[in-house]
Symmetry: C2
Subunit: 360 residues, 2 copies
């Protein structure tokens, strides 16, 4: 299907005329959607980054890479954070920067141990803003039980940033016997979500657009390592974990379906959606399945483990609204469908970009 | 000397009126110098980040943190790269992003094993530019023997970036018996530099300002892990290693002098400075001791190891111009001085910011 990307000769001769033929689009330039976690992001990774970096770890398409070093089996992950506004109901870019990477590591079954933290500050941003973000980051790290071990600060000229950008990378130990990755979903597996969906995206949208939906919607930004530990106490044989951030539940489930070559069938009536989110989505013409979450996880588990895993989630303060929302099926491999309340099924496709840019 | 930073209550009540009293300056906002690696950067770390993150690893002031995980002793480091222009004689932001982190790990004696890579792309940047940078990054990683294991891409609106920013974090194994850190310098130790200084900064300045200095100055950007391995073959007891990037040799030596509580005495006539750099510095009114390097290291070693370490450096293609440039002394602890060719001594202070912003 895809044309081969013409990578320049490693000897670095002449880059003139070099183009990057993304197969599905005809953009010569980066558009906002390339950062949205949907199809455009996936194309950029598949056709530009993976060939350039040429290694199988990146092809795993997991939230974190699992590597071995000095006999230790480590999860390793990174995320940059460019959310606007920097402070929002329920958190800040500092909270996101910790929880985002802690959660990516947790999706490999790892307890985050150490974080790195790189700030890109825009000239002119108030030091008190930087200080509040650093304080939030420190507080979030202590909450998640992770140590900020190393950092870096760069400053860019006014007009070349947006106050504060933060990158975190993290490492954590993957317990023996744990092998959690998207490829492990098999027909019959049960799909569980740890709580109400769509909250982070609507919280950001409401404050950014100044729209109120009756009650204030507060971001669900939270560390998920405790939930994962609770599930691993039930069984080490969790098949897939994913935190449905950019692109929401729909995008994460599509990635799992494609990686594992299974179909996924959701039951619409089982989706836990807060009334405020449902109202906001109706008002704005959005689908809650595509709205970002920052404190929820999807778990794909063997049917015989489903009840115990669900109970373990519901017993945790962050998982009280956990619910079974669907199952993996042998039909339509690589595709996610939802059974509507009217009994019809509709395809839940991967979005091109993201409904709301710079959500994290 | 320093006032205590008033950190907000971790319960996140009211941030209004919170200020960050940096002790020496009265800037309420971030200035370019906060990213320059000099005194302003050090104040930001000491008075804002370290109290917020509250852990002893950050206080070590090393280029990378050394942590233990699953029985493995790991070096862990991060750097963000915001250099302008993105491509310059001798390299690109892609080369810098690999070598910068590989070198920070090497300064703890670690061979870089895995890198993470986070891109912040500005809407509108050409995909071919992103592709060239990714290709450079991949090539540099293969040259340094490190694997890009995990990544992330964000896109920011046009006018809120500068084409491409890159963050890398890296992990590598620290060999048993190796304990390299700034605190280990002692009077009598010999200070060695691995080659000609000031080249990267002048290369960037020449292309950015369109100034020519006769011969083109090409960045020295290179991975230093091979040089470090060659030195460790001579002795595991290297005391301090530092790659003198932002702020140059002067800033790195000041950091070592302060961390170890020793004086450092340089001999001006021993400094290996290329003629083009010397000419450029004379023309621009710069001091080569403060100009950034991206492929040089400073080694502080016991006097009995100095000859063998120097020989090992000189036998490596990246170290042919290595030279002894000074020594650690019991006098003037925390201070660096240089003996001029006229026999006088002058103090080599830590700069406030960086002579040339966005050098890496």
């Amino acid at each position: 299907m895809a044309e081969q990307v013409m990578l320049p000769d490693p000897a670095r001769p002449n880059f003139d005329g070099w183009t990057c033929p993304l197969p599905l689009r005809d953009h010569p330039a980066v558009v906002m959607g390339h950062g949205g976690g949907g199809q455009l992001s996936a194309e950029l990774i598949e056709h530009l980054f993976v060939p350039a970096f040429a290694n199988p770890l990146l092809e795993g398409m997991a939230d974190s890479a699992v590597v071995t070093l000095g006999g230790a089996r480590l999860a390793f992950s990174t995320d940059s954070f460019v959310v606007q506004p920097l402070f929002f109901p329920g958190g800040s870019i500092g909270d996101l920067a910790v929880n985002g990477t802690v959660n990516d590591l947790a999706m490999s079954g790892a307890q985050a141990a150490y974080l790195s933290c790189g700030f890109i500050l825009e000239e002119g941003v108030e030091l008190s803003v930087v200080g509040r973000i650093a304080a939030d980051l420190g507080t979030a790290a202590r909450r998640a039980g992770v140590i900020v071990a190393t950092g870096d600060t760069k400053v860019v000229d006014s007009g070349h940033g947006d106050g504060v950008y933060v990158n975190t990378a993290g490492i954590g130990l993957v317990p023996d016997g744990v092998d959690i990755r998207p490829q492990r979903a098999v027909p019959g597996d049960v799909v569980i979500v740890s709580g109400m969906i769509g909250v982070h995206g609507i919280a950001i949208m409401s404050v950014r657009e100044g729209v109120s939906f009756g009650t204030e919607v507060v971001s669900d930004c939270a560390p998920l390592n405790g939930l994962v530990a609770a599930m691993l106490d039930v069984t080490l044989d969790l098949h897939v974990l994913r935190d449905p951030t950019r692109g929401g539940v729909a995008t994460s489930l599509n990635e799992i379906a494609k990686a594992a070559g299974v179909g996924i069938e959701l039951t619409e009536s089982l989706l836990p959606i807060p009334e405020t989110v449902a109202n906001a989505c109706a008002f704005l013409g959005l689908d809650p399945l595509y709205v970002a979450n920052e404190g929820k996880l999807l778990a794909v588990v063997a049917p015989e483990d489903a009840d115990a895993v669900l109970a373990a989630l519901q017993a945790h303060p962050l998982g009280v609204d956990a619910a079974v929302i669907g199952e993996c099926v042998p039909d339509h491999p690589g595709m996610v469908v939802t059974r509507t309340t009217f009994g019809a099924t509709r395809v839940v496709d991967t979005p091109i970009g993201e409904q709301l840019p710079r959500i994290c």
